[in-house]
């Protein structure tokens, strides 16, 4: 991309796999700027915003798209095919949003087995309904991903950054368009965190008075800020709810749940198993909480044994 002539309008595709549409909103929320940005690209494929069919996409030569933004997790065989097709067509594949990046919220379905009944209800008899995979996957599990825009959904500014650098020809492979460091670094409450605080029993959001100025961990409420990449503008914290981890883990942390256990355990008060169990009783559903957005890409929860090719 580096030596690309500046004037040519880059060819762009944007689409969704198993998605909620929030990532599309993150594009539409560019608001009045949207027109200007879209005016500088050659938008080839964007189901939510323009006409265009799969067959049109198939006609694009391989590598004919400069970039494609794919949001949503990979849930069906058709998603695998679509992702593969787009990978073929695009020079740069951007995982847009938590689902494509980490597997996303729908990955919590991986806590449950896909039962045969589903297969029977929707399987071979039905008119070509795409077959569900055994488990939800992240985009990176099925195709090579070049750039990540984290977030559920990403902030419009991050999308703008991606599109701007595409237009300028500076969208670099390997980029993660968010902060390099955890949310605490930019959290408005970061300075209220004290290192020696210990939690005797975690408190749940609906039981607790929520001090709008004090670090949630200081209030005994689980906040995933320490184990989550910053760059979200601390939306949840500013809304007075704790971080739930949608930007995914930082840098070298492979597993958000494991990283979460590491720091939450450090905050626990208690010198005996009984005391620790008591402290943890206030921590509802740690698995669903720590892997809220990243179960499919986690070390153990994401492993794919027993799955067909």
């Amino acid at each position: 991309m580096k030596s690309r002539p500046a004037r040519r309008r880059p060819k762009l595709g944007m689409t969704w796999l198993s998605s909620c549409g929030g990532c599309e909103e993150s594009i539409l929320d560019l608001g009045p700027d949207l027109a200007g940005i879209l005016g500088q690209v050659d938008l080839v494929y964007w189901p939510i915003g323009m006409d265009g069919r799969m067959e049109d996409l198939c006609k694009v030569p391989d590598g004919g798209l400069d970039a494609v933004l794919i949001n949503g997790s990979v849930r069906t065989e058709e998603h695998v095919e679509t992702a593969g097709l787009l990978r073929q067509k695009a020079r740069i594949v951007v995982a847009h949003g938590s689902c494509a990046h980490l597997g996303g919220v729908y990955g919590l379905a991986n806590l449950f087995s896909r039962e045969a009944v589903l297969e029977r209800s929707y399987g071979e008899d039905g008119p070509r309904l795409p077959r569900l995979l055994d488990r939800v996957k992240a985009l990176g599990d099925v195709v090579k991903v070049d750039v990540v825009i984290p977030g559920c959904p990403p902030t419009p500014d991050r999308v703008r950054e991606a599109l701007d650098s595409l237009i300028r020809g500076t969208l670099a492979r390997g980029a993660v368009l968010a902060d390099d460091r955890a949310l605490c670094r930019t959290c408005p409450r970061g300075e209220t965190r004290r290192p020696d605080t210990r939690i005797r029993r975690f408190r749940r959001v609906h039981e607790a008075t929520l001090d709008p100025d004090l670090c949630f961990l200081e209030q005994g409420i689980v906040c995933l800020g320490p184990v989550t990449r910053g760059g979200c503008e601390a939306r949840c914290v500013r809304g007075n709810l704790p971080c739930r981890g949608c930007f995914g883990p930082v840098g070298e942390v492979k597993d958000q749940g494991g990283g979460g256990v590491g720091f939450l355990a450090a905050l626990l008060e208690g010198a005996s198993e009984e005391e620790l169990e008591q402290a943890l009783d206030g921590l509802a559903d740690p698995t669903g909480l720590l892997y809220r957005y990243s179960l499919p890409s986690s070390l153990f929860g994401g492993r794919n044994e027993g799955e067909g090719p």
Binding site: N110, V117, R135, K254, V261, T287
Partner: protein, 167 residues
Amino acid sequence: MERGSGATQSGEGPAVFEPVIVAFLCNWCACEGADAAGRARLELPANVRPVRLLCSGRVDPQHVLEAFACGADGVLILGCRPGECRYREGNLHAMKRVALLRRLLGPLGVETERLDLEWVAAGEGKRYAEVVTGMVESLRALGPLKPQSASTHTTAKAPDARTKVEL
């Protein structure tokens, strides 16, 4: 015994499931305890893969997850007895992590018995032998770790409850 979860012929009897256990050993106590077991020529199962660390407090939850992800059927963390940690409280931090990790792993289908934390002092070769043998036995009874188990919240219905739908 070569690869992860497998079964070997034990003598002439039926195939016995041989679990593979990753054991994280504190350099100052459990490692020495394991050596003491060796010096005493105690008999130990070959199922344990020891990893030497300076302190049980070094065990990152991700190391445990990595071990399970790579096919370990069990993970054992062995540290100094409470109050005897060379680094004061590393063993206590290990205990906290294990308590929370067990809760994290439960819904992923990892039974509590598959992750254990025990104290073994430097001279306690016999205790080391008992701990690892005990874990091997309990995992033999439990069987191999399944990749994913249905959550306890799933009340599975018989698959033939709905055989046809509108076409």
